[in-house]
């Protein structure tokens, strides 16, 4: 289970995440929605500690980072391995094949042998439907395939929670579903997930909870049906009406 308490993040004098509390239970899928610049990416990046929060406590299972004190680089490195991150722009390593992208973390970070790593990577690439594309370089793959490699790369580290930051926003419409399909499968297997997305159908079908954030605070949260059909706050209503 993930727990965030009193999370704060500023860029210079601009406060982007303002005292956010959020719990995500084991195996649950949380979809985060909100207007541009509301802090969705920053929230996910704080969980992956790609941004160092200015304050707050983040814990995943029994591991905890307390940003109200100073946190060592080593602790951050260890904590990062608990989360898998999938970026909007895939960020695959262009000099490595699909296989290399997935094995790199296993060999370099986990110290596995190449053979061991390739076995795991082969299974994961098959799982995301890319068994036939193992030896291709990123430039030889479509956007949807690249993003699926990126998902396999994150899964390889065996994270407790997967973080997705607009994973389909950069994709041509016909490629969106193949990525959502993989994410749905993951959700059904019981992976804990936090997903920033504009795919409202995905949210309705898969999310256990939808969180609407605006101006760095959680404005409203609830079951997808409640948030979409019966929003309580003006800001949520306005945001949802703009999506139609």
């Amino acid at each position: 289970m993930i727990s965030i308490q009193g999370l704060r993040k500023s860029f210079g004098s601009m406060e982007v995440i303002k005292n956010v509390d959020l719990d995500i239970e084991q195996g649950k899928v949380v979809v985060i929605i909100g207007p541009s610049g509301s802090g969705k990416s920053t929230l996910l990046r704080c969980l992956n500690v790609l941004e160092t929060p200015n304050g707050g406590i983040i814990s995943i299972d029994d591991q905890q980072l307390d940003f109200n004190k100073s946190v060592s680089k080593k602790a951050i490195g260890a904590f990062r391995q608990l989360t898998g991150m999938v970026f909007q722009g895939y960020n695959l390593f262009p000099h490595l094949t699909a296989m290399g992208n997935v094995t790199e973390g296993l060999t370099t970070v986990k110290g596995q042998s190449k053979k061991e790593a390739e076995k795991t990577a082969g299974q994961l690439l098959a799982k995301v439907g890319l068994a036939d594309h193992k030896e291709k370089y990123p430039y030889q793959l479509s956007g949807g395939q690249e993003q699926r490699v990126a998902i396999a790369r994150a899964l390889a580290m065996d994270p407790k929670v997967m973080l997705f930051d607009e994973p389909t926003s950069a994709l041509d419409p016909e490629l969106v579903n193949e990525v959502l399909r993989v994410m749905k499968d993951l959700a059904h297997e019981g992976m804990t997930m936090a997903v920033v997305t504009h795919e409202m159908r995905f949210a309705q079908e898969v999310a256990d909870e939808v969180i609407f954030i605006d101006g760095g605070v959680i404005v409203e949260r609830g079951a997808p049906a409640d948030i979409f059909n019966n929003p309580q706050h003006e800001r949520t209503k306005k945001f949802l009406s703009l999506l139609q």
Partner: protein
């Protein structure tokens, strides 16, 4: 014309043929024993210096950044010839005597280190931030991300400018003649000072450099072709 009459004189042609056949050996020997080894050794040492200098320049430590910047500024802001003279003729006056070849190695390595560090620094900075983030997100630390993800990509970006530096270095090694390294150009000076055929002998020396650089440019093309494999057409890195 005057030039023609010289060129057409049979005695002169014979004399030049003799000079050519007796001096080509020493010139090539100078290239094989000194010019090429000097270029290769200093390029390797220089690259190592350059990588550390580049890393120092982008590091978060003010002191490291400062040291690296001063080093690069001094080397780039002073003539290579003057640097070589300081090492070879200057240092002995304070009791530091270094032989010609090692002096040249020191001088040229420091030079390559400073210039190549700028190339490597630019190459590292050209790698998108998302690559570092993706590396960190799978749990890599700074040095792992650097070695496994960023430097391999930066290397590809810096191959064209670095091979140009290497070709430039081969030509610059002729300056080592001034500190008594018996490389190609110094051999040419010695030969020409005996037969006074300056135009002919120096042209032969030029030809030796040109052949070396021509071969290098072919190798450069091969390496770039190999590296392009990873990017394909969409990479836009080269």
């Amino acid at each position: 014309m005057f030039l023609n009459s010289i060129a057409l004189s049979p005695e002169r042609i014979q004399r030049l043929q003799e000079i050519a056949s007796t001096s080509i050996g020493p010139l090539i020997e100078g290239a094989i024993k000194f010019t090429i080894p000097l270029a290769i050794i200093t390029f390797i040492i220089g690259l190592i210096i350059a990588i550390f200098t580049a890393l120092a320049r982008i590091s978060s430590s003010k002191i490291l950044r400062g040291i690296a910047r001063v080093y690069v500024s001094i080397i780039r802001g002073t003539p290579l010839l003057v640097q070589l003279f300081i090492i070879f003729y200057g240092l002995p006056t304070i009791g530091v005597v270094i032989d010609p070849f090692p002096s040249a190695v020191i001088g040229f390595s420091l030079n390559v280190g400073a210039y190549a560090s700028e190339i490597i620094r630019a190459a590292i900075l050209s790698i998108p931030k998302g690559q570092w983030e993706a590396a960190y997100s799978i749990g890599m630390n700074y040095s792992q991300a650097l070695r496994k993800i960023v430097l391999p990509q930066a290397a590809r970006v810096s191959v064209p400018p670095l091979s140009n530096s290497f070709i430039g270095l081969v030509k610059d090694t002729s300056l080592a003649a001034t500190i008594l390294v018996a490389e190609t150009f110094r051999r040419a000076q010695e030969i020409a000072s005996m037969n006074y055929e300056f135009l002919f002998v120096y042209t032969m020396a030029a030809l030796v450099y040109w052949v070396i650089c021509f071969i290098l440019s072919i190798i450069q093309g091969r390496i770039e072709g190999r590296l392009d494999r990873f990017v394909g057409k969409s990479g836009g890195l080269s």
